[in-house]
Symmetry: C2
Subunit: 297 residues, 2 copies
């Protein structure tokens, strides 16, 4: 495992200057030591990217994979309205994984983190007779903004999305910008918020279940991404179906009593448990959480 | 992925009451929200357990695997002298992994965490066409004790281990008790500390490199575990070699200027960079970091 140890040494040398907010030791210890600002809530979560599910090493560069691993977590910060502060990464490398690619993985992670003043403060690298797996933990700061939960949607709230949806498999799923600034801007206005990773039909259901409410969305209002149209030419599904179910859009889905200035209104929160869609012909039908997770490779 | 979602729902139902120290939301949101005590340093690290490296699903129960995933991280807390507070787990389940075994994994994690008042506050579960991988992030509190780094060893300090070493592959590697209480007790006395996961010969080198010192240990003083003797009957290596290199002992290795009341003194910190061992015949030779990681399966 000499290569593994070399990588850790190399990573240490790459450490950026200490974060001015969080006093920290380097990655040489068993644990990183941070001084958390006393007036800040600590938001923490973990998310993983796995070969064949979230990326395809034959198609995506190590740098892209590293970026996605971090950006998925930054997108969770956006959904809560918090500021990313620190991250940790656990990487399981396939035996014989080239050291240069491992470095690119790390550089991708670091670049994605640094774009939002987020410092990678710890990690674990191991090699195994298995596929590439990366798990990233994110620590976020409330930094003066109340975190937005999924459970706050109220009957009568409007439902909004921050951008067009569908067809992310064509490339956006690996190469997206987490909506951190937008999340901060929306947090004081939004009653509930989530990032669209599982797809609109599933993520809206998450908000409804946590908030114990229902939702009705209007098919004609759902913003369709050009990728959804492109993809509909390649399969039997309509652009709308792609927008409703594809997932990995990493846009924000949020509810608000007052109209925010950002995003597109697509529906309204209702009292009856369930999620419905009003089709162009005016017919209201249940919106299934189809959740065909798009699969890579 | 219906099974996956069911597991998350089930995990939520298993959540223990809120931790009295850390205000927290449940696992229903993108991130957990914690109020970190203002006078506590936050210690954070991540460690992973991988099929075929750290466990063998054919030999170990899911509950054992879950326990090990948490206990490895708790052992890092012990090494820093901090109190575990919260944990997050990312689990990559092989496609078709039985839901009941996934539950056992989680119950094992929770039992190991609760034994030290540590609450699992978040996680991510995904299934993939790969092997079982678990990554655990631990958040620890300094709770009135200065964290012990690896970098504090000084020339003249004694070198100590908390228990007998070697042969953990016979079973202790999966079934060990993290030395949390001992770590807390030693922290005010120890100049440097680490937990023995990679093996004495490698972990002592970590302390020396971080502290920019060397070490001389006495072969006759290294406490040998009965498992090392048992294992030496099965292979060509001596019990001492097993004690020096096997790893996964999860005992504490520490240095101190004054003799602590706990543990066994095995050597001394010296100025010359390097690690040496004095053999029974009085000959001082370099101690290689052999680091044959014991491999499972």
């Amino acid at each position: 495992m000499a290569g593994e140890f070399d990588l850790i040494q190399w990573i240490r040398q790459q450490q950026p200057p200490r974060n001015s907010t969080l006093t920290q030791t380097g990655v040489g210890d068993d644990l990183a030591v941070l001084k958390w600002p006393a007036d800040d809530l600590l938001l923490v979560g973990v998310d993983q990217v796995l070969e064949g599910v979230h990326f395809d090493s034959a198609r995506h560069t190590a740098e892209q994979i590293g970026r996605k691993a971090i950006n998925r977590n930054l997108s969770d910060c956006a959904a809560m309205g918090c500021l990313p502060a620190a991250a940790l990464a656990a990487v399981a490398l396939p035996a014989g994984y080239p050291i240069e690619k491992a470095r690119q993985l790390y550089l991708g992670m670091r670049a994605a983190a640094e774009a939002f003043d987020c410092v990678i403060v710890g990690g674990d690298t191991a090699s195994w007779d298995g596929k590439l797996a990366i798990s990233v933990t994110i620590l976020g700061r409330s930094a003066g903004v109340r975190p937005v939960a999924r459970a706050g949607a109220r009957v009568g709230d409007g439902i909004y999305v921050s951008g067009p949806l569908g067809g992310s498999i064509l490339g956006r799923h690996i190469n997206f910008a987490p909506r951190i600034a937008l999340g901060r801007e929306l947090a004081p206005l939004a009653s509930a918020m989530i990032d669209l990773s599982d797809g609109l039909s599933r993520d809206l259901r998450h908000i409804c279940q946590e908030s114990r409410v229902g939702a009705v969305i209007d098919a004609d209002l759902v913003p369709i991404h050009a990728d959804a149209i492109e993809l509909s030419r390649q399969d039997a599904r309509s652009p709308l179906e792609h927008a409703l179910h594809d997932g990995e859009d990493y846009e924000l889905l949020y509810t608000a009593a007052d109209e925010p200035k950002r995003g597109t209104r697509i529906g309204q929160i209702v009292a009856d448990a369930g999620v419905w869609i009003v089709e162009s012909n005016g017919k209201r039908i249940p919106l299934e959480a189809k959740g065909w997770e798009h699969r890579l490779g």
